[in-house]
Symmetry: C2
Subunit: 315 residues, 2 copies
Amino acid sequence: MDASGEHREQSVETHRSLKDYMDARRPAVEAALEEACRDRAGVPERLAAAIRYAVLAPGKRLRPMLTIMAAEACGGDVAGAMPSAVAIEMIHAYSLIHDDLPAMDDDDLRRGRPTTHIEFDEATAILAGDALQSMAFAHLHQSTPDVSRSAALIGTLVTASGPAGLVGGQADDLDAEKRTVEDFGGPDSALKHLEAIHQRKTGALFMACAAMGAISAGADSRAVSALTDYAKAFGLAFQITDDLLDCTSTDEQLGKRTGKDDGRGKLTYPGLMGLDRARAHAKATICTAHESLQLFGATAQRLTELADFVLERTN
Amino acid sequence: MDASGEHREQSVETHRSLKDYMDARRPAVEAALEEACRDRAGVPERLAAAIRYAVLAPGKRLRPMLTIMAAEACGGDVAGAMPSAVAIEMIHAYSLIHDDLPAMDDDDLRRGRPTTHIEFDEATAILAGDALQSMAFAHLHQSTPDVSRSAALIGTLVTASGPAGLVGGQADDLDAEKRTVEDFGGPDSALKHLEAIHQRKTGALFMACAAMGAISAGADSRAVSALTDYAKAFGLAFQITDDLLDCTSTDEQLGKRTGKDDGRGKLTYPGLMGLDRARAHAKATICTAHESLQLFGATAQRLTELADFVLERTN
């Protein structure tokens, strides 16, 4: 077997064990999400149904997995990380509902199903997103009896979700759609702008996953900081590969509309750098992610594999 | 002077002193709101402008005032109540932005100015609302160093804002617009339904004002509970008088579109009870509010006056 064949073998093996790991943890995540979204007194039926539809849509649960892996890297366990994992997934679900709205990205397909405003209606979708944001903070508050830890977790999540995080990234992303590469002063400036958008739009929440997983395990600030660095690089690589997938896959493969980025003249990594350079950039970013894990050794094995997995999606 | 003239004299006097009281406290509230909405790194300019536009719109600041009065009734002060007052006003501003959206109440005028989605655009309005919700929790988190108190305040506000509070009330309100009085099983059932809507749509946040004001003053659970009862009655009376004003005022008087409720066939107190019975109901509800204050004596004087003020808006 030649070297490249050997690498392929190893990569398949890593995938299998990472897949096993994620498959083993997913039922607990799904059960916790189900429980967090079950019917409660005073919640209108249709609103509750829209909330469940959005949160319980089939998905990889990448953010909860990252949260759990970060906790485990710091000696924590699944149960300790679960309140953070659930809260983050709720914030993620709310942001997808609102991003898909006609006034925003106007998407009708998400995870292979109609988006929430198509399945229900626009008003219900807006309100389901609003409700999920408050439910995320309520869940953290109610599930973390240690008030100091609860405060640290809530503080981390509000910063990631707010106008200098998730919401700001989406606002700048929508704004960028109205501008050309020349408006930004050429490809290099546009690339910096794109990176700043993604650092908030997707990166901030990945960083919160890592930080909150670590905090929930009682990690010290050095570990929280190293894992946040990992997640920053991980999130960037994730976005680059997402852009790559958008221009090389079909709707059926991804369960959402593809080729939209290009049709809209949207800033993307392959659009600004070309496919090959974008792939190389993703690879270099994953190297940075690996380096951030040096502090941890074997406990961070799954995080190393998760970074590799993101990269290999596009190979 | 006859008895009725005497009552009128006294009422004008109460108003003047309540007005003086609110005028004296409003600049501190405005300054705190300005500070909470000032430019921050990473927040897109247009988003920040929309947030400021919505929060700093001229208004009575009824919710911050109620929060401060509740704190004072429990021996607290303005400074201690201010983080709660600001956070609640941010939640209130976010809910107004989203309620005014075309997919919701579709309003173009609010506090005498174009609504946020008219002045900016729909996407920016949705995002400004989203940002304000997280900013409210971030503000409470950052401004309350005592983690136990911060947890109690955040817990109170998330419950009031969530799907069994503010958001649920708005969802049921929109749903009720599609139904007739007969769909509810006649006027009495419709009235119960209307009360359940308002208890969440406006009542929950008024109750949070009173509870959070009391908590910020370190009040015991008996005082928190009495003030919450007061605010529940206050909120109900407020809504009844709001309905009365909608059908008896002009756009110019209120700074928003009036007569809309009737045009839409919306459930309202005067619509279901007639003007006179609705006025009597508001009066009885204010009596309940007064009774809830018996625990406090003189420190609750402003809360007594505030309840009277709500009632007298429609006389």
